[in-house]
Symmetry: D2
């Protein structure tokens, strides 16, 4: 069984909808067990058995929602001290109005989350351009779904973005399935001698 | 057999020395076949069978040596169009004088290389803080080895950094060994239906 | 009179000490009026007359303290909608344990703050390497002060970093003095015709 | 007289066209003298009198064209050693196909150039969202012009992007006009005592 946890913050429900789509994709992988949870309700114990962690956020001023940042500081920070998620698998996604037509700061917002996952010692899952529906908001760091109108008013999560979000969830679960329970994952980040190079 | 290719640029030989240490670490993994090559001499065919690609650079003005950038543009760019390295494994390292004592721009330099690897659809290997010798120049993106004196004159690659470089090479080879030849790697970045969710 | 506001978050008091040093430097500029304030206590009105805004944070998991992020979302976000700080001057600084000896993620942490300031339409003040005491934690984005021991325990803010923090405060105030009250600052970000190119 | 230099790389002529538009905007500022030049033809002496430097690039694999990187390494690098451009003004712009609809890596590409300019000790000019035509490819770091069709074939530089490019050129020239020839610019990055706080 591969455990996937999706943690998100949401302003008007769009990022929550996106999290559900990512979860649906992850669930389509064999033997996957998937949960999604708001960033303000996650506790360290929720991460104990996670083989993969996916973070999702609306883009706020070019970086993630402060609730994602608080989760990173207060929940992930403690697990980082203990090297608890080393070798697990990570992924990210984002939503936003996309003002300006050039991503609206989504890249650095996703990178802030990527950086935290990588600092945990997690293996990062990309979003390859070969992924179906990539044209619907694909960036190599993960999906970016535009859910604002040109005038800035919120609209529904666009239906064409759903397959992309699902594919990303599946991709992360695929990588997690390759690493979960493997000796090399346990050895990851340890010394040469202690593991005989495995 | 897991194939690992290390591509580097070097000003005064330090980054080449670092590449050799990374290669030694990767070679300590079971069944690993490792090569290292200057960025100005790599051809697209050298990457055909690579299960992992590790990029190394001196930090120049806060980003990689221009020869690394030309390799990214002219060699990786062509393979990106063809989705040729999707699902392979990537890693990075850097060297530098470290002027200022705050990394000297090494983080964004490594991120430029990380971004290219992730854009290829490659799975990123982090450098967990649990890795032995992390204190000798470890950043979560990869090792950063200081090889300049305070006055800016080049000195020898410091010996304490060698175990960290070797551990990083081993870590990348470990992740590559988990993914090489697996059906899930072939399925990575493709549609749900075409792979039955594998 | 040039108004400079320094907003910071602090874990154990080090970043607050650093904010005081930055303030001292800004105050040494002619006609400067300087305030510093914790991020959890700033209100939008505090920024109305600010010619310069300097943000400071401890580095948490490779990005700013969540209280800085909440300030960016909830205070700066509202002012961004109104284009209220366009053409003002910005700067950043950070503190941290520096685990690993390669900056510990300080660059992306500073960039997250830089990105928010630039998104406000603010002019960014760098930290040139010619600045006195640059070797004591200088990064081009701003000063990074190490205030943790190798073992991770907090120690005093190192005295040699104080001149660097003061110089950065002065540098920001200098740029603010060049732009404050100038017609070109008011014209900044507006159309050509409405300002006759001024 | 305010001197503005625009340095660009170009694949199919789009970025050169964009550079011309940025130059037109800068020239509309009072007393501005503007030049634009391909990155492969700039010599260090061309930068001696520049009050502002604007870098433009096509986005290649999430970072600038390697010719821009070589210019940064070989031309700017030498001037960095001598602190020759400290206190001058910088700006950036980019062009690209925009595959994926989420910026296509333009943000990190612009940040690589921003980082080099900031490392030179240059004051960074943002692109405020209040700038006319911001919706035509505006990102806070600078304009990003999409010049590829959905299918990846190059098309003409879209006419609606021209006013945005011109406004950015004007914005940079405005900031340069505030700093050029001022004592505070000469003092920038020097010690407190040597300048009496000016």
């Amino acid at each position: 069984m591969v455990q996937v946890l999706i943690v998100y913050a949401s302003d008007h429900g769009h990022t929550q909808q996106a999290a559900v789509a990512v979860a649906e994709g992850a669930e389509s992988a064999p033997n996957a067990s998937v949960r999604h949870c708001g960033a303000d309700r996650v506790e360290p114990g929720d991460l104990s058995d996670a083989d993969a962690l996916i973070l999702g956020t609306p883009v706020h001023m070019g970086s993630p929602h402060w609730e994602i940042k608080r989760f990173i500081d207060e929940v992930l920070g403690g697990l980082w001290v203990q090297d608890r998620l080393v070798g697990r698998v990570g992924g990210v996604f984002a939503t936003g109005g996309g003002l300006g037509g050039a991503g609206g700061g989504c890249e650095l917002a996703m990178l802030t989350m990527v950086s935290a996952l990588v600092e945990m010692g997690m293996i990062l899952t990309p979003l390859p351009k070969s992924t179906p529906s990539f044209q619907q908001g694909g960036l190599h760091w993960g999906p970016y779904v535009r859910c604002g109108s040109a005038a800035g008013r919120a609209i529904e999560l666009p239906a064409p973005s759903l397959p992309l979000l699902r594919s990303h969830g599946l991709n992360v679960a695929r990588v997690a399935s390759l690493t979960a329970g493997q000796p090399a994952r346990s050895a990851f980040g340890t010394s040469l001698s202690s593991t005989n190079g495995v």
